[in-house]
């Protein structure tokens, strides 16, 4: 088989779309919480209306985003943009006309970014990329209203469907982490800058979730240095996950250091560190949805059968925890 033929065959692989459905639902939930926060704080007008209509950002007539060429530049239009985002992401989560809804979300979110650039964070960009992949995916084939309409069951039919959207989401996660690792140009991420990056970040009153002045003591400071080095190393090692997945596809070919490489649970270690990294971020910095939206994409690290096994264990654990002694099977 030539390399080109292997490439074509790889992207033509099929698997049950369970992981994609998990990502679809989790990502939609996270975005719904974020959009609910906008509604709760009543800041849709501030964020997305023009300055003269109660917003915080202005633009000239020639630079008006497409959204405000189609709709009047008013506070009502900003509210409509928020409502459109809520409805589209709700449809993505429920799996109702999922492809159209995800595409609608991407367009509205892109317009929101063009209206107010500073309010559009890296995570919003990442979510748009994931949603674009979901548009082309069979993510609504299971656990969705679309599945219920098609099969009569919300659970749908987990028949094998194209696996490439999951591979693309995994590749995108690797790109984000590896790109972020390479882009760390500040010396505070390196030994010659004293590995002070996390310490400095945690001393930023606008970002920090609490007063972290105590980190200046010798031992806590040392720990932030270790965490800085680990974080950077974790980001830079993202491509190893792809390499490990590649080697695992043909373990019989593994010789020498490849065989040794296969003995290390690279993917599981990477995911465990990633979960710890994101949860620590969520506890220490006010980053909003960033840690949770990234974690929502983590099912892409796992094959559907691994997820099914995980769900099975959870179900079994749940059942044994809540089963009454009288219901226990007789010996």
């Amino acid at each position: 088989m030539t390399r080109v033929a292997r490439w074509v065959a790889f992207w033509d692989e099929r698997e049950p779309p369970t992981a994609l459905a998990c990502i679809r639902i989790a990502l939609a939930l996270v975005m719904l919480v974020d959009l609910a926060a906008i509604g709760w704080h009543g800041v849709a007008t501030w964020l997305w209306a023009p300055l003269e209509a109660g917003g915080i950002v202005g633009w000239g007539a020639a630079d008006a985003p497409l959204f405000y060429r189609l709709l009047p530049p008013s506070a009502a239009s900003a509210q409509l943009l928020w409502l459109g985002l809520v409805l589209s992401v709700l449809c993505v989560g429920a799996g109702f006309c999922m492809r159209g809804a995800a595409l609608g979300y991407v367009w509205l979110s892109a317009q929101a970014a063009l209206i107010n650039g500073p309010a559009d964070r890296a995570i919003d960009r990442a979510v748009r990329i994931m949603m674009l992949i979901l548009v082309l995916s069979p993510a609504a084939q299971v656990w969705s209203i679309d599945a219920w309409r098609k099969t009569g069951h919300f659970r749908g039919s987990p028949e094998p469907a194209p696996a490439w959207p999951r591979y693309m989401i995994l590749a995108q996660l690797v790109l984000i982490y590896f790109g972020a690792g390479l882009a760390k140009g500040g010396t505070s991420w390196y030994p010659w800058g004293g590995y002070r990056a996390l310490y400095l970040t945690l001393q930023d009153p606008i970002l920090a979730a609490a007063d972290f002045r105590w980190l200046a003591r010798p031992l806590p400071f040392r720990l932030t240095q270790v965490a800085t080095a680990l974080t950077h190393l974790w980001e830079l090692s993202a491509p190893l996950v792809l390499l490990a997945a590649h080697y695992r596809r043909r373990p019989e070919r593994a010789r020498g250091w490849r065989r040794a490489f296969l003995l290390v649970p690279v993917r599981n270690l990477y995911v465990a560190l990633g979960v710890a990294f994101h949860l620590t971020l969520a506890l220490t910095l006010r980053l909003g949805i960033f840690p949770f939206a990234m974690l929502a994409c983590f099912p892409a690290f796992f094959r559907p059968e691994e997820l099914e096994r995980g769900f099975g264990r959870l179900r079994a654990g749940w059942a044994s925890a809540f089963s009454r002694p009288g219901n226990a099977p007789s010996p």
Binding site: W7, V8, A9, F10, W11, D12, D34, A37, H41, V43, W46, L47, L51, G54, G55, I56, V57, S109, A110, L114, N116, P118, A119, R121, A122, R128, L132, W164, M168, Q172, L175, Y177, F178, G179, A180, L182, A183, K184, G185, G186, T187, W192, G193, A197, Y199, L200, T201, Q203, D204, P205, I206, L207, R213, A216, R217, F221, E235, R286, G288, I289
Partner: protein
């Protein structure tokens, strides 16, 4: 016929994916920032240059700070141009969907930090309403600390974002509406140096980017 079409479809899909994977991987490669001699003159960048210079000297590469700055500028400019040229085939798509692949995530944490402080005045009497991270001054804290609103005032080394003044205007309108006795609102970013472990704390701080709003005439 069906298998021929399926195979053609798989080939087309693989080709499109190859196109996007290649260009997106290129796009995710970092450049060296926007090259600017003025930026390099700022204290933070000067300190960074000195640290890089010391690191290079430690591995046997002796280079003056001035030469290192010149080298950085020419490399950064070339990298930026090459980046833009290489990404031209997907620039339109990335712009339409706002999906540029630039992932920095705290790339260059600063030794300077800022606190947002909102004060209001009833005549000459000043009252602090909000201060970042203060447990005492919490007016509108939940809203001000929501990620998208925080982005409207959180300054970079180049200063606050263009939304800072607009946000100030909206905040002042709210304060005047809630507190009829107040006549003036002042918003500042108070800049100070992060206390480094083992070093004496630097008590100096500077109020920057002050915005003043007087109650509009009825």
């Amino acid at each position: 016929m069906c298998s021929f079409l399926a195979s053609r479809r798989a080939q087309l899909r693989a080709a499109i994916i190859a196109y996007f994977v290649f260009f997106n991987a290129l796009a995710a490669l970092p450049t060296l920032g926007v090259p600017s001699a003025e930026r390099l003159d700022r204290p933070f960048e000067q300190a960074e240059l000195r640290r890089w210079q010391r690191m290079l000297a430690a591995v046997g590469v002796e280079i003056s700070a001035q030469r290192l700055a010149q080298l950085y500028l020419s490399l950064a400019e070339a990298a930026e141009q090459a980046h833009q040229l290489a990404l031209a085939p997907i620039a339109g798509f990335a712009s339409l969907t706002q999906t540029e692949q630039r992932w920095r995530l705290f790339g260059t944490p600063d030794e300077q930090r800022s606190v947002l402080r909102i004060s209001a005045f009833a005549g000459e009497r000043e009252e602090v309403l909000y201060e970042s991270l203060s447990p005492e001054y919490r007016w509108g804290a939940e809203r001000l600390e929501y990620r998208r609103v925080r982005a409207a005032y959180n300054p970079s080394r180049a200063g606050p974002p263009p939304t800072y003044e607009g946000l100030g205007l909206r905040l002042s309108e709210q304060i005047f509406a809630q507190r009829p006795e107040l006549t003036r609102v002042r918003i500042v970013l108070d800049r100070s140096r992060v206390p480094l472990p083992g070093a004496a704390p630097d008590p100096e701080h500077e109020e920057q980017y002050a915005l003043e709003f007087a109650r509009p005439a009825p």
